[in-house]
């Protein structure tokens, strides 16, 4: 029996609304993720992938079921402790980038570092390094509306990576990108995986899923397949 998993959810359900109009986005999902895994999550639209990911990212809470992260029960963490988890342990990449408007790329990447109480100089340094890593060293002063979609996604990735989180959660990170940008982003994920980080990626594209080591398939709020692919 291996030691505690990094991520473990047990029989998680998520229901939106009540009574007849209730939507069961998740109908009992259990999943264990060990540290260092690279997992792709696939499934048709509306199957509950994003809902699952939001719960894993501590952005949302399950209606029922347990979520254990790194040995602690997330439901029992205080609001501040959850904020700490979001800021330190998890890097979340949104499908829609979610950069803060009217704020430079550098400031966007600095933000999680600010919330992690890093000093100004250190923040600058790390943010610049993260932007360099995603190939945007020459775009640090640009605001989101001055960047292409691919560049914005790379800023979002840099932001997720800046704090050096152990877990990277990406909800369709390449959904808005062309083949070339997709390749670049996937290359970065490969590097991060090689670096020992845990990556969970939601995608609709098979070639994206093919880069992962494990494929989880979701359908109508349930996990219908879970296999190691490589």
């Amino acid at each position: 029996m291996a030691a505690e998993s990094l991520i473990e959810i047990r029989d998680v359900t998520k229901t939106y609304g009540q009574g007849e109009t209730a939507v069961h986005a998740l109908r009992g999902v259990s999943l264990r993720v060990e540290a260092g895994e690279y997992i792709a999550v696939m499934g048709s639209s509306g199957s509950g992938k994003s809902t699952l990911m939001n719960i894993l990212g501590c952005l949302d809470v399950p209606t029922r079921g347990e979520y254990w992260l790194d040995g602690s029960d997330v439901a029992r963490l205080s609001e501040d402790q959850q904020a700490l988890v979001r800021g330190r342990k998890i890097g979340f990449i949104f499908q829609s980038f979610n950069l803060i408007p009217r704020t430079t790329a550098l400031a966007n990447v600095e933000l999680p570092l600010t919330y992690a109480h890093l000093r100004r100089g250190e923040r600058r340094k790390r943010a610049n390094r993260a932007l360099e890593l995603v190939g945007l060293a020459d775009r640090t002063g640009h605001r989101p509306n001055e960047l292409s979609g691919g560049q914005q996604q790379r800023v979002a990735i840099a932001r997720a990576l800046a704090t050096g989180p152990r877990i990277l959660l990406a909800d369709e990170p390449t959904g808005n990108l062309d083949a070339h940008s997709t390749d670049e982003v996937l290359g970065m994920f490969d590097d991060l995986h090689a670096d020992g980080r845990t990556i969970i990626v939601i995608t609709h594209e098979h070639d994206v899923a093919a880069r992962a080591r494990r494929l989880v398939q979701v359908s109508d709020g349930r996990i219908v397949a879970d296999e190691v692919t490589r």
């Binding site: 952005l59 609001e79 904020a83 700490l84 979610n98 009217r102 919330y115």
Partner: protein
Amino acid sequence: MSPRDLMGAALRGLTANKLRSLLTVLGVSIGVGAVIVLVAVGNGSGKAVQARLEAMGTNLLTVSTTGGGGGFQRGQAGPAAQQYSLTLDDSAALADKQLAPDVSAVAPVMTSSGATATNGDTSYTVNQVIGTTPEYMTATNTPVGTGASFTQQDVDTSQRVILLGQTTATELFTRPASAVGQTIKLGAVDFVVRGVLASKDSTGFNDPNATAIVPISTLRATQAGYGALSQIVVQAVDKDRVDTAQSEVTQLLTARHKVPATETSPFRITNSAQILQTSQDTAATFTALLATVAAISLVVGGIGVTNIMLVTVTERTREIGIRKALGARRRTILGQFLIEATLLSLIGGAVGVGAALIVTRFQLAGVQPVLVPSSIGLALGVSAAVGLFFGSMPAHRAAGLRPIDALRHE
């Protein structure tokens, strides 16, 4: 997040929408400025009235008669009124050191209004022609500016001499100083201008400079006839003896006019110290009233801050979601918005104070405002409190959102 980072985030939030922030600041600054300026105006007008009354002399008593005592039947009012009317003999008796030791100067006063003064082709209707004795000038603090006062001898011999108030002199001669020594007509009678009175500040609605003063004997002979005196002006020897002087005057007059003990005194004695007190009370009420009006505008400014913060929070709900997803704690979000709201009202407060400092250097509605330092502190404090109080509601709302709800906000 360090205070400096919080401040930076708040400043960026504010500058993101400059016009809106500016208008909100304006609302608060008008409120703060209004408080300071209006309190200063109230204070200034109170101080001005006080200064004028003090210049008038605080040891002054003015005696007049109400005509008849309260206990009289209607039909008897006529003779009774005559019985109690003030006479030159009363005035002479009050001047008697033996009878009224605390009285230092007494001046009988008769007035006639609406007389027309003429200098060649120029004529002017004098508000009030005062007939009196030279003591009047010292007792009521009415100094002669140019020329000289008339003397007791002028009074005794009913000389046709006249002292002109500033306005009267200006109307008749354009240059007041040139009036001295000239002859004017008052009604149909020629008067020689002895002097021009120094300018007086107004204490009421009437222009105190639209007057002329002549010897009382002359006024009786030429204008007003030999009726009763309008009033007797009495000066107490000292500010602290005003009350004793007042009772001496009352006693003396009651005795002279044989007022029955059962009757309320028909003599009305106004005491300048009392007037001063009354006017100070009035000024305080006035100031409080102005301050209330101003406070209302401050509250309105505060509502402006709340409104803007509500809009800001709603507009930036997604941003709040992003910040929370990136690890921002509730109190960090709360701090950012609270600082934004407080900055808005503090900047507004500072601008308001600055504007008020400038505005209060000028006369407003004829009043020279006098700043009340505590009103500045109060207005600034209130504006900061307004920011905290009014900003906290939307800020709490924002900080309490679950990240996913904030992120899904459209």
